[in-house]
Every structure is written in C-alpha cells, then in structure tokens.
C-alpha cells in the first residue's frame, strides 16, 4: 500500500546523504518538491558562501546550522538570510548543515543548539552572509547590464535595475556572482524595510508535522537497518557484569546481544522484537559506587554543604559582606533558604540515534543538539579521523538540553560496529527517565541587611549545586566552579550596594546536566521569592518594592507593562490573589503575573500574563508560542515534576510517576512583547519557565500568608485544579 511513499522517503535520505545535508520539505508547492525528488542532480547548485546556494534554475537553498527542536529556528534563522538576500521566501529550500567550522556559534566557536542563543549568536553573521551574497548578485547583474550597482536592488528572488525596471532572476547571474569577491562589511537592509523579520511566518516544518511525513530521529530509516533495545544498570554508574546471551538468541528476529557502556543491547530485525527479547534477557549488574544513593541522603548532603565552610566567593560588590557579617552589622536582618528539585527532560520523543559504522567511517542520523560534540566523541571512541565521522540531524521531538550529550550517538555507533550493520537504538521511556542527566537540585540561602525602609542594603547569597555543564561543555567547569550554576546571580538589576555570591559545587552520585532554564530556574526562584518576602515585610506592594529597587530601563519597562496588562492595580476578586516575578535571563527581560485561588489545597490559576523584551521578536508568533509553552513547563516545575532516588536508582519510571502538565492544568496565558531594538537581542526558548515559578509561590503567599520555599509544591499537598 505505502510502497511508493516509503521508497520516496528512502530516496530523500539517500539524496540527503549525498549532499551532506538533510532535505526538509517546507510548505511550498508539492510539484516543486517532486521536481527535486526525481532529479536532484539536474541542476548544479552554486555556493555564494557556506550559508546559501543558488542553482541556475533559480532554486535558493538556505542552510540552518541550528537544530529544530520546536523552537522554530529552521524558520527564523533562514528568514534572516532570505531577508538580506531578497529571496522569494515561498520558494526557498532549507537544509541542516553538516559539522563544519563555518557553522559554529561565533561566541564560543562551537557547534551546538542550546543556551537560547541561536538567534543572538547567529543574527549578525547571517545578516552579513545574506547581505554579502546580495551584493555579489547585484554586481554580477549590474556588470551584465553595464549599469551602476548603486541603482540595483533585490526583491523576491530577482535583481532589479530601478531606473530601467529591468530584472534578472538570481539563477540567471549566479555563475557570474560566484566569481565576485564578497564585500567585507556589506550594508544591512534597514529594519523598517524588513518583509520577513519581525513578521509572523508560517513555520516551514509545520505541514510535515501535521501529515505524518516529518522525520524525527525515531522515524529515520535506512535500507538494511536493524534495531537495538537497551538496558542500563538500574543503579547510576553501575555496569552489566554478566548476561546470558543464549537466553534470547533463539527468539524471533534476534540478531545479537552486545555490551554497551553501563549496560547491554539486544539487536533484532524490529524494535518490538528487540524489546520483547530484552525482557527475557538475564543480566547481572554490578552496582558500583552509588548503590546507597537516595533522596534523603542527598538532602543531608546538601544541608551539610550549606551549613559548612570552604565556599568559593564568585561575586563581590561594595563591601561584599558575608551572611555572618551582615547578621553582625545590621539590626534588621532577614535570611531564608530555598530549594529546587531534580527534574527530568522527558522529551516526548524518547532517546534514539541511528548509526552506520564501517571499518573506516561512521555516519549517524539523529535528533541532536550537540552535533560537534557527537563528532568529537565518535572520532575519539572509534579512533577515526574527524572527517570520517558524518553527523546528520533529523527533527528533534523536544530536546530541552538532553540532546546536547553524545551518549546516544556513541551507543548507536558501538552497537553498529559490533553487529556490522546500520542500527537504530531506541530507549524505552523507562530508560529515558531513569537514565536521564537531571537538572540538579539546588539549596540556597539568602541573607539581607535592611535599612529603615526595609530595603536591602547588603545581600549575601549562597548556592549549593552539582554541575550543569560537566557533560556538555566541560571546558567551562573547574574543580570548584560551574558558571551555569550561577546564572542570574552574577549581574542583577536590583540596586543593592553590597552584594556577595558564594558557591559550592557539590559532587553527587546522580548524573546532572543542562535542562531548560539551567541555573536561572532555581536561582531566580530563590531571588524573586526573597525579594517578595522583603516587600511583604516592608508592608510595600511587591510591584512598588521592585520598582524602587530596579535600576535597568528595560526591566522597568517590562515591569510596568506587566502591571498594566495584568490589571495589577485593580483589586483582585474576593478569594483571588496575584503574584509577580521579573528577571533578565538568556539576555531577555521577562515578567509574569499569576492570578489564582485555592480551595482545599487545589490551586486554581485563573490567568497568567507575561511580558517579554527579547530585543526584537524576529518572529512574534513563534516567540509567543515558545513563551506560552515555557510557562506551561514552569507549571510542571512548580507543582508536580520531581525526580527522586532510592537504592541508587531513579524512582520515577514513566509518566504516571514523573508528572508533566496536562491540558486541564493549562490556564489562559497572555504573552505581550516589548520590542526595544535589535542591539538587545535575547533568547526566547528557555526564559518562559523562569519567572512563572516564583510568580506562583508569590501569589500563594499573597493569598494564604504561607510562604513555600521548596519545590515542587506537591511536597505540601498542593495540586493544580
């Protein structure tokens, strides 16, 4: 029945392999796609730079260096190129880049998708590439016409000589254009003339995601591919000591059983056969050093660390008094502890990766954020030169930091090498949740010395956290510091003369890594709870209290906007209260106001209002969708998501236990955008969940007088209704 469809898909992948990229069918005319399908080599594409190619028959191909995980980046970044180039957006083709130096994030010269910095990191570069290619096309056309390039412009895929209204298609001059040296500092299009940026475009990945043709890692297919189901040591860090291969070798479809780091893989003709066989495989695990790991013990470890000495002082402002010094000096001192929990990524698409390893090469296809780390890891593990490792990206069914790691590529490659066939490894949901690398729990104490008006003059903040960057950007981590754990604390917009931040990097038996919001999430929960506590102590409206302390004009504008949009000044209805939080995270200013009521521990959120200033929302609708979704993510982090440990194992094994927000949990969420200008460009992917969490606990305090300083709120029996 679906023969035609399948072979067509195989063909697309074969073509993708040949060109080093991955062809995505955007929403444009199917006949165009069919043409490309049936004769991909019909027309020679000419590169004007690493980011765009044009064929003589006028097909413009734009390269996306960044992985598409739902954040809309394969629409927004190519739109920057198309805007400057003057391309016909309805006809461009978009490809993901291979791993190559040209596609590195310029800030750190590293190829990855994360840290909410795809737009901020690539905006200038892509404008330059688009504008420089536009200059080459214009010069080629002007030369042909014998006119001045000054009189020419581009629009909808054509070069136009204004005085004579003559036109040439990009394809007509691309061969000549390629011979022209690109300008070093091409002039950018004025923002007021933007036709794509600042507008809401229809996402290029959307039609395929609604008709079943989108190819996530899970859907990728290769002829002759086999499947692996895996089981890792239930205890973190343990290994499979022995296993009885013969117990499953006769089972239907089973091809092999092979060791992997920390576990065993069963390889079969189909994934279902592999997972059925895995259920019967007898494995003896060696638990290793972490068999005693449990949540109570970890809590004790955190408390001991917070109470102890040997802090690393990471920030000093003014007199930089310690908490003890503040207590000695000020007559009015306030001090509190805040605690955030371990979280799992729980991407809807469970972990997977496909690899085809031969004696002298390795090619992988998968939903990856960390494509360069994957290449380096595979080259090192397989002892192959970098140029023999080819990393191809599919669409990502969620990522949130989890897919920065190279563990899946490595596992797939090792299994493929062992069985001598292309292999797709798929983790069950249980493996996914119980062998995640978790958002580390943190324990923090903030101490403030207050003046007579109740405003903080000195603030000391202590943070205890395990590492965030260790597995994904180890270069930045030292024996006693991890900058990601301190995000949001190193520069604040509250005018407090004396400030000090002390840090303790905790070593624990559970694996921890990057998860949406990174350090900002736990740190801003603590800061915005604390500021709120000070406001109530000073008998001052939380808005006025913050307004008095804020010293940044963008922050003030966002704060004022959220107050106005939420109707903060109007009295809330009987039994309803509002909470507020604001911060700058990932270079974006954001504020949330939550309106809620409580009945018998059931919290009803009536309305959420959010204002963000990310410089310019390059695509307002994509930006809003991301902030809405981030806000929903924050509801989970605030109320119900929690990872716990027992006997060295992660307790939560599937969505019945690791709970994430549902449709009925989702209140109306309004997102308002303040555009302050492109020089202040910020990210929108991770900031959504940051301020919603303290806004909720602040609203609960305003309503009930009870301050919740430990997450998730299910610890107190509170739930969403």
């Amino acid at each position: 029945m679906s023969e035609a469809k399948i072979s067509r898909r195989f063909f697309l992948f074969a073509a993708a392999g040949a060109s080093g990229g991955f062809v995505i069918g955007p929403w444009f005319a199917p006949e165009f796609f069919d043409d490309r399908d049936s004769s991909p080599t019909q027309s020679k594409e000419i590169s004007l730079n690493a980011w765009l190619r044009i064929s003589p028959d006028d097909v413009v191909t734009l390269i996306s260096s960044q992985s598409e995980m739902g954040q809309g980046v394969m629409t927004t970044l190519p739109a920057i190129l198309a805007e400057e180039l003057g391309a016909d957006w309805s006809r461009v083709k978009i490809e993901f880049s291979p791993v190559a130096p040209a596609y590195a994030n310029p800030r750190i010269n590293w190829q990855f998708t994360g840290n909410s910095e795809s737009t901020t990191g690539f905006f200038e570069l892509l404008r330059t590439m688009g504008a420089s290619a536009r200059g080459m096309l214009i010069t080629a056309a002007a030369n042909r016409w014998g006119v001045s390039a000054e009189d020419c412009s581009t629009e909808n895929g054509k070069i136009i000589h204004q005085p004579s209204n003559r036109r040439l298609k990009f394809g007509d001059v691309v061969e000549d254009a390629a011979k022209i040296a690109p300008a070093a500092n091409p002039k950018f299009k004025a923002e007021r003339r933007w036709k794509l940026l600042g507008k809401s475009l229809s996402r290029v990945d959307l039609p395929s995601k609604l008709n079943g043709t989108a190819v996530f890692g899970m859907d990728f297919n290769l002829p002759g591919m086999v499947f692996a189901a895996v089981r890792h040591s239930p205890v973190h860090g343990g290994v499979a000591a022995t296993y009885d291969k013969s117990s499953v070798m006769g089972m239907p479809g089973v091809i092999d059983v092979t060791p992997i780091p920390n576990g065993v893989a069963v390889v079969a003709q189909s994934f279902w056969q592999a997972s059925e066989a895995l259920k019967s495989l007898k494995i003896v695990f060696d638990d290793g050093a972490n068999a005693e790991l449990n949540t109570d013990g970890l809590n004790g470890q955190y408390k001991t660390a917070l109470a102890g000495d040997a802090w690393k002082t990471v920030r000093t402002e003014g007199d930089a008094l310690s908490g003890e010094a503040i207590t000695g000096k000020y007559s009015d001192v306030f001090s509190q502890e805040y605690e955030s929990q371990f979280l799992a990524h729980a991407t809807m698409e469970p972990m997977n990766c496909t690899a085809a390893v031969t004696d002298d090469s390795c090619t992988i296809w998968g939903p990856l954020q960390g494509n360069q780390l994957a290449q380096l890891t595979l080259a090192s593990a397989l002892k192959l030169p970098l140029d023999k490792i080819r990393v191809n990206r599919t669409l990502l069914g969620g990522a949130f930091g989890r897919r920065l790691l190279a563990d899946l590529p490595l596992e797939a490659a090792l299994i493929s090498r062992a069985v001598g066939k292309p292999v797709k490894v798929i983790w069950s949901r249980e493996e996914d949740l119980q062998h995640d690398v978790y958002r580390p729990a943190t324990l923090q104490r903030i101490t403030a010395g207050l003046n007579q008006a109740g405003l903080p003059e000195a603030l000391a903040h202590k943070v205890v956290s395990p590492s965030i960057l260790q597995f994904v950007y180890g270069l930045a981590v030292t024996e006693d510091n991890d900058p990601s754990c301190l995000e949001g604390l190193m520069e604040t917009h509250y005018a407090i003369p004396h400030q000090r931040v002390d840090f303790k990097l905790l070593k624990i038996g559970a694996p921890t890594s990057v998860l949406r919001t990174t350090g900002f999430g736990p740190n801003i929960f603590a800061v915005e709870s604390f500021i709120d506590e000070l406001a109530f102590r000073a008998k001052t409206d939380p808005y006025h209290f913050r307004r008095r302390l804020l010293n940044d004009h963008r922050a003030i504008k966002v704060l004022d906007a959220v107050i106005e949009k939420s109707g903060w000044r109007k009295r809330a209805p009987q039994g309803v209260a509002r909470g507020l939080a604001i911060t700058e995270a990932f270079r974006t200013h954001i504020a949330h106001v939550v309106e809620l009521s409580v009945k018998d521990k059931a919290v009803k959120i009536h309305r959420i209002v959010c204002v963000i200033d990310c410089g310019v929302a390059l695509d307002p609708e994509i930006c809003k969708n991301s902030i809405e979704g981030g806000t929903v993510w924050g509801l989970g982090a605030a109320f119900k998501s929690n990872i716990s440990f027992k006997n060295g194992r992660t307790v939560e094994s599937n969505f019945h236990a690791y709970q994430i927000p549902l449709m009925p949990d989702t209140p109306p969420i309004e997102v308002h955008i303040v555009n302050s200008g492109v020089q202040g460009l910020g990210g929108a992917g991770e900031v959504g969940p940051v301020t919603i969490v303290p806004a909720i606990t602040n609203a609960l305090f305003a309503l009930t007088g009870v301050r919740y300083r430990s997450l998730p709120l299910s610890r107190y029996g509170l739930k969403l209704s």
Partner: protein, 163 residues
Amino acid sequence: MRKINFTVNDETVSIEADERKPLLWALREDLGLTGAKYGCGMSICGCCTVHLGGDAVRSCVTPLSRVEGKTVTTIEGFSKDRRRPIHQAIEQAWIEIQVPQCGYCQPGQMMSAACLLAEKAVPTDADIDDAMSGNLCRCGTYQRIRRAIHRASELVAKGGRRK
C-alpha cells in the same frame, strides 16, 4: 507469526506478524507509517493515538489481534479524505493557529481532537480539557490546541475547507 488483514487509510493490508505485536509497531515497522509515535508504551501519553473503527485508541497497547478485520486511520490518511470534514478542519485550524512546536505529539492530539468533535460539534473548554487530558505535550502547546479545536469546530460549522 501469522497473516493478519486489516484496513489502513482506506487500503487493505496484509502483514505476517505475531498477533501480540502492538499496532503501533506494526504501523511503523511493517507498513512504514511513522506518523503515530512511540512515547511511553503504557497508554499514558497519547503520542501513538490512531483511529480504530472510528474510535481513538492507543496503538502502543493495542495488539494486532484486536485490529484484525478492522479499519485504522493514521495521521498519514487523516486529512486526505474529503468525506471527513472534521479532519480537514482540524488540519487547517492547526495551521492557522500555528499549534506545533516540536510536533512529536501533534498527530495524537489531532486524532483525539477529531473524536471529540465527532461526538460534540461545539465543545466547551471543559469538554476539551476532559477529552484531551490523555494527550501529553512537553512543549506545552495546550492553549493553542484548545484554540485550534474551537476554530476547527467553527470551520466545520461553516462547511469546512474550501479548496
């Protein structure tokens, strides 16, 4: 292993498989229809939702023995049939409201939404919350799904998509 016959997206198929094999993996591995997704394997997340004889079922826990002789619709065949105005309206509304982010759960969301609209042409927010509470979305697109269901309901009332 035995021959199992059923209908998928209006075409008759015959596959040689273990009758305990879940429909999800038969669709994905035997028929190359990868629109229905694996998410939890326990009927919790709804990513694998397809229509079986017109009802939304979790294909990850539906053995082929239950599918034999029946009619299955997956996302690949969802909006192709003009006799199903609800399906076409759902696809159009999902595009108008730009619902998806990562998109992995959306085929399942659309499948569940179609059954809701077939049962209740003009659902309230409460109806939607109730009918959709078994379809998880980690990107948190719920508000847009809710809006899109209302919009699809309107589109059906207006006579569906004009081509």
